[in-house]
């Protein structure tokens, strides 16, 4: 069915339509810009409620929640972006998102790369511990985030025991073929950094003896490190005497 020409519309209707459209644009532009405030982030709904809301398909809900949480970032009005957030709430959101979509890596990336980067040590530690706890649920898939946490603990927090704990957990639990050797060897070098040469030497020797390292370049590098450790251990024991 063909429509009638625009000329068939009375002119007052056309004029008022244009006026109403212009008024709507002006009214919308005049409204204050939306801004996320740190205190606006509420606790997430409970797991049971989220299960109902997901209508049996939790992944889209998890992704929507991730984007919602991400919107509480560097918005106008927040001078210190993430530091002003209530990290208890942030952690609750991340936990719920991971529960809905356990294979998703996004929440762990946000925890280790965004929320752990604030200049507040307590909040950094809270996020690193969160990553460590979540790592245990799926070590072979989540090892990169714990490796990052270990490096952060070592170089940002200068907390070697914490870094060693993360690296040891990584070595013990992330045993899949997709986990690179450098990640699984990290704890050995943290032992060395802590002056525990004997432990480091034993771990490295055990690793080389186990035959898991097959790359000749890597083996040569590790043997050199083993020699260095032996030398360091010898000089350390001599200086103690």
């Amino acid at each position: 069915m063909r429509e009638r020409r625009i000329a068939s519309v009375p002119r007052p209707v056309l004029a008022l339509l244009g006026l109403a459209l212009a008024t709507q644009f002006i009214f919308s532009a005049w409204q204050p810009r939306p801004s996320a405030r740190a205190e606006d982030l509420p606790y997430p709904p409970s797991s049971a409620v989220l299960r109902v809301l997901s209508l049996g398909d939790p992944i889209p809900l998890a992704q929507g929640m991730t984007l919602y949480l991400q919107a509480f970032d560097n918005q106008p009005g927040i001078s210190i972006p993430f530091a002003s957030l209530d990290y208890g709430r942030v952690q609750a959101w991340l936990e719920q998102i991971l529960e809905l979509d356990p294979r998703g890596q996004y929440p762990l990336l946000m925890a280790s790369q965004l929320y752990a980067q604030v200049p507040i040590e307590d909040k950094q530690r809270q996020m690193l511990e969160f990553v460590s706890r979540q790592f245990s649920a799926d070590p072979n898939r989540r090892w990169p985030w714990l490796a990052h946490a270990a490096i952060m603990a070592r170089h940002r927090l200068h907390d070697l025991p914490l870094a060693l704990r993360f690296a040891t957990a990584l070595s013990a639990q992330a045993t899949g073929p997709e986990v690179p050797h450098w990640a699984r060897q990290m704890h050995i070098f943290f032992h060395e950094d802590m002056g525990e040469y004997e432990t480091a030497r034993m771990l490295l020797g055990g690793l080389l003896a186990s035959g898991t390292v097959t790359d000749p370049h890597e083996m040569r590098f590790l043997f050199e490190r083993l020699d260095q450790l032996k030398a360091a251990e010898k000089s350390s024991s001599m200086s103690k005497r």
Binding site: V13, L17, Q75
Partner: protein, 259 residues
């Protein structure tokens, strides 16, 4: 002029009468009763803040239900009128199309206000505070705007399925526009990336065209701060502007139709 106004009011009164005869009040009462029972269940299973939980559940669900029932009624009523050739019959009389359209809108707006009053009365049962009045007025404004939208989509699409789909999508988008704008403007996205900039600007442009329904009928008015007259005033202004826009756009479509 006066005769046209009388005809407009006659159409409006018949639109209201049709709502009564198609048992819309009964449908709405049953829906509200079921939601009230649902809220009692929520209050019963909640461990703490039981009254708050009940009010929050009731306010959130009745608001959506009112919008849905009203939109469905407007679209199905208009569709029936098209199918029964009632529109042709009316327009064959000495009646401008604008008067017919305005009459229908006034009638549906009246139904919207009645639904809002009924809904507010139910919501007032568990939370009879001062916020209910503002909440109810805001709901009435929201429903009037939705009546204008459903009427516009019914005239434009002339069939139930596309008209309801359009109205629903529009409502959801208008309710979530603020959150979408925040996501699109995130600093985590590369500001140098032309696609990110394009998306952020497109979303900003779209938000100029849509009413911000996330500022209407907030549950926090019932639970926390009781809402403000200024907020309801802004909602009233938005309702006036956007309903006028939709009514005029609907008239534009009706004038162009070959009946």
């Amino acid at each position: 002029m006066l005769r046209t106004l009388n005809k407009t009011l006659t159409i409006a009164s018949f639109t209201l009468l049709e709502a009564v005869r198609t048992r819309l009040p009964l449908v709405m009462a049953v829906v509200l009763a079921l939601l009230f029972l649902g809220s009692v269940f929520v209050q019963h299973v909640a461990v703490t803040e039981t009254a708050r939980m009940q009010t929050g559940f009731l306010a959130g669900t009745t608001r959506i239900a009112a919008v849905f029932v009203l939109s469905l009624h407007v679209v199905s009523s208009m569709s029936r009128e098209f199918n029964d050739k009632g529109v042709e019959l009316l327009l064959s009389l000495d009646l401008p199309r604008a008067a017919y359209y305005l009459g229908k809108f006034v009638g549906f707006a009246g139904i919207a206000v009645a639904i809002a009053m009924l809904t507010s009365a139910v919501v007032a049962l568990p939370s009879p505070g001062p916020g209910v009045a503002l909440w109810g007025i805001s709901l009435a404004l929201e429903l009037v705007l939705m009546a204008a939208l459903a009427l516009f989509s019914a005239i434009t699409f002339a069939q139930v399925m596309p008209a309801i789909s359009f109205a629903t999508a529009f409502y959801l988008l208008a309710r979530s526009m603020t959150a979408i704008r925040l996501m699109a403007g995130s600093q985590l996205l590369s500001p140098e990336d032309w696609l990110s900039r394009l998306i952020a600007r497109s979303v900003a442009l779209l938000s100029l065209l849509l009413p911000d329904l996330s500022r209407f009928t907030l549950t926090s008015w019932l639970l926390d701060d009781g809402g403000g007259v200024a907020q309801v005033g802004a909602a009233a202004l938005q309702c006036l502007i956007y309903s006028s826009l939709l009514v005029l756009a609907g008239m534009f479509d009706l004038y162009r139709k070959n009946l």
